[in-house]
């Protein structure tokens, strides 16, 4: 098998030279400082992984990755940036739909691991036709709402009420009971549910069922938490509150569609695989959550 292709974009040549040396043994490495050139390469060649800087004079990395998503959907997208600003990280989720958001300076071994994983996933998804017929569904898709905001629940009901079973969880315990009954297709969640930080629940849900699509609607503007949720929960949308009804409705539709696609093409599941949870407390919480979920399921007989 030929080497997978890795496309690197950064406005600093020295970064490109350095990364090329890190990867040239296992990969066909292409580097450029010009986003335009990167788009040309994506169009003409089979690229497994694209890893881009965020702040570049001609184009933001998140914008380049959005174009990459349209030009070459099977290519895995990674952002490598030294600047953790909120707008960039939101754009990288919503537009770039990045697999990982990595920070400069990076750990060579970690980046190698991420790129290797991404390359393997890309190889598998090249084989999948992106617009396969949705399989005939057996069960109604379920949407789990973890947000005390009534406006959110109302929009979800109005948008998906006719097609989905909708569950509005008032607290972590309730959410767990619902998850024990049956997997969910789409989660719409704030980051705080009353006093509970639900980050660990989102991370656990994605570990339990990679098909689940997560939309975060929140007024919390914490870039480092968002980056964690990208890498460890693969949230697919981050919508800052107040979010307009139209935007939430549109994203709900596209995430439901995404869920159907991923379910019909299990090879695509891996594209949203997650990193292990880094926060020690959250790891414990997630462990307890899974343990209790298992007991509940055994009792219900799922």
């Amino acid at each position: 098998m030929s080497k997978p292709t890795l496309l690197l974009i950064d406005d600093e040549d020295r970064i490109l030279r350095s990364l090329r040396m890190l990867f040239f043994v296992g990969y066909n490495v292409r580097t450029t400082t010009e986003p335009g050139e990167a788009i040309r390469i994506l169009r003409e060649e089979k690229v497994h992984v694209i890893m881009s800087d965020q702040r570049m004079p001609q184009m933001q990395g998140s914008e380049l990755l959005r174009i990459a998503r349209e030009t070459s959907p099977a290519t895995m997208r990674i952002l490598l940036t030294g600047y953790s600003d909120l707008d960039a990280s939101i754009a990288s989720v919503n537009e770039g739909e990045v697999f990982r958001y990595l920070m400069k300076p990076w750990n060579a071994e970690d980046v190698k691991k991420v790129v290797a994983e991404a390359a393997a996933i890309a190889e598998a998804s090249f084989a999948v036709q992106s617009h396969a017929e949705p399989a005939t569904e057996t069960a109604k898709p379920r949407v789990l709402i973890m947000d005390h905001d009534e406006a959110t629940a109302k929009t979800v009901h109005e948008t998906l009420g006719d097609r989905c079973e909708i569950v509005w969880a008032s607290d972590a315990q309730h959410a767990m009971e619902e998850l024990a009954k049956q997997d969910v297709s789409v989660v719409v969640s704030d980051l705080m549910l009353g006093e509970t930080n639900v980050g660990y629940i989102l991370k656990t849900i994605k570990q339990l069922n990679p098909q689940t699509q997560c939309i975060v609607v929140t007024s919390f503007n914490d870039t480092s938490r968002l980056i964690e949720l990208i890498n460890q929960a693969q949230i697919t949308r981050f919508l800052p509150k107040p979010v307009s009804k139209g935007i939430l409705a549109r994203n709900l539709e596209s995430m439901l569609e995404r869920f159907h696609l991923v379910r019909s093409q299990p090879a695509l599941q891996k594209r949203q695989s997650v990193e292990p949870i880094s926060n020690a407390q959250e790891r414990v919480q997630a462990g307890n959550f899974i343990g209790m979920l298992g007991k509940l399921r055994a009792r219900i007989g799922v």
């Binding site: 040396m21 040239f24 004079p57 600047y83 300076p105 060579a108």
Partner: protein, 441 residues
């Protein structure tokens, strides 16, 4: 503040419910009333008709009449009506204390001969002593003053906190910008070292193979097969293309790393220069250096967006607070960058005459609308969304320049751009202000 002393209540506490006289009583009745020891403290007696006060008769006035020879015989039976002062001091119960006191003070006569009459909705309620009213007023004023003082000290400390938060906000922005700039060279330097480490490990392996080979060659006891096998291992390593490439590139990576470390040192140096943590707050400095320092720190905000054109004349050093001038310039530069919706130009000029140093900072951004330009130096005035600016940047800049004995003014044309003109005195003032600057630092 009124809630300390609710209006009606404070006057109510002063009311003395005296039975009023009818205007029809004879004057000798008044004599009896004044002679009554229970009324000893009263300066005057109220006169009321149909429930409404129509006047007063004061002890003073009464005596003027009654002390005359045969006055008792002449006037004793006459009705009181003809002898009263029909413009009494009136205070309505619901009136604020301050207003009542003001009214009484303005209309009372010297020597003080009358008490005031309190009415409720115009009807007689009782009388009050003028001295009590003035005393109550004084107590209230004292309370108000204390309250004002407290409010003032609260305001002062919250203003201090705000100035501090503005300082922290601009510092945070600056540090975030520089951190990003450091992350890039740090990224490749760290990676290059990791690659170097790996290459070094491989080279050690190669060296070991060669050493073994040489040892075997020098050792007479090695047989042909052993030697051939070892040579094969060495040859395979020799032909390992990837290692060849890494060796070829490593020089370049080392040079890059040195360059990166230089970049990082430069940035750290800029930070140190800007904050001047290790230097005296007040020092002789060249304002051009402050401009350069602010440009270095603001580079991250300015690059990709602003073309900086400098026209800096040779300047003499002045006694100043360099870190504060740095702050002023950084504030002006970042404001300019934020005013540009498309990439634009920033022109920085400096020159001097025998009295002053002049600095001009002009941009071709969107300009400042005429209706707000007079307010841009006001504390808390901001055009940025809530939470994004404290509205103190220019106010603090203005204060800093003033404390240097200089001036800062603005000129702007919407759609064309904005210019700030700063002048700083060459000597004298700046020196005498050194102590004031030290207080600010």
């Amino acid at each position: 503040m009124n809630n300390l002393n609710p209006p009606g209540e404070s006057i109510f506490s002063l009311v003395i419910p005296i039975e009023a006289l009818s205007p029809d009583v004879p004057l000798e009745e008044v004599a009896e009333q004044f002679a009554d020891p229970r009324n000893a403290r009263l300066l005057s007696l109220p006169v009321v008709e149909n429930g409404r006060p129509i006047g007063v008769i004061s002890r003073y006035q009464f005596m003027n009449i009654y002390l005359k020879l045969y006055a008792r015989e002449l006037y004793g039976k006459r009705p009181l009506r003809g002898f009263i002062n029909n413009t009494p001091l009136l205070v309505e119960l619901g009136q604020p204390l301050a207003e009542a006191a003001q009214h009484v003070a303005a209309n009372m006569q010297f020597p003080l001969t009358e008490d005031f009459i309190v009415t409720r909705h115009g009807r007689y309620l009782g009388i009050g002593f003028v001295m009590d009213l003035l005393k109550a007023m004084e107590v209230q004023m004292r309370a108000n003053t204390a309250e004002l003082e407290q409010a003032y000290s609260q305001l002062k400390s919250s203003q201090l906190a705000l100035v501090q938060s503005e300082k922290m906000a601009s510092l945070g922005q600056m540090v975030a910008g520089v951190a990003h700039e450091i992350n890039t060279p740090l990224g490749y330097v760290q990676n290059n070292v990791a690659i170097g480490q790996e290459l070094f490990a491989q080279m050690q392996g190669v060296l070991g193979t060669y050493e073994t080979l040489i040892d075997q060659l020098l050792d007479g006891n090695t047989n042909e097969e052993q030697l051939a096998a070892q040579m094969q291992i060495a040859a395979a390593m020799r032909n390992d293309a990837s290692m060849q490439e890494m060796r070829g590139e490593m020089n370049g990576l080392m040079a890059d790393s040195l360059y990166g470390i230089e970049q990082i040192s430069g940035l750290v140096h800029d930070l140190k220069n800007f904050s001047r943590m290790d230097a005296a707050a007040n020092d002789l400095a060249n304002p051009n250096d402050c401009i350069e320092s602010a440009l270095n720190i603001g580079r991250n905000v300015l690059k990709d967006k602003v073309e900086v054109v400098k026209d800096l004349a040779q300047l003499p050093e002045i006694m100043c607070a360099p870190s504060q001038l740095n702050q002023v310039f950084l504030n002006l530069f970042t404001n300019a960058a934020q005013a540009m919706e498309t990439p634009g130009k920033l022109l920085i000029k400096s020159w001097h005459d025998s009295d002053n140093i002049y600095i001009g900072v002009s941009d071709n951004g969107k300009g400042i609308p005429p209706d707000i330009i007079s307010r841009i130096f006001d504390p808390f005035f901001t055009t940025k969304p809530v939470g994004e600016g404290t509205g103190l940047g220019l106010a603090i800049s203005h204060q800093i320049i003033q404390q240097h004995g200089g001036s800062i003014r603005v000129e702007s044309r919407p759609g064309e751009g904005t210019s700030f003109h700063i002048s700083l005195p060459l000597s004298g003032d700046a020196k005498s202000n050194a102590s004031a600057l030290a207080a600010l630092a």
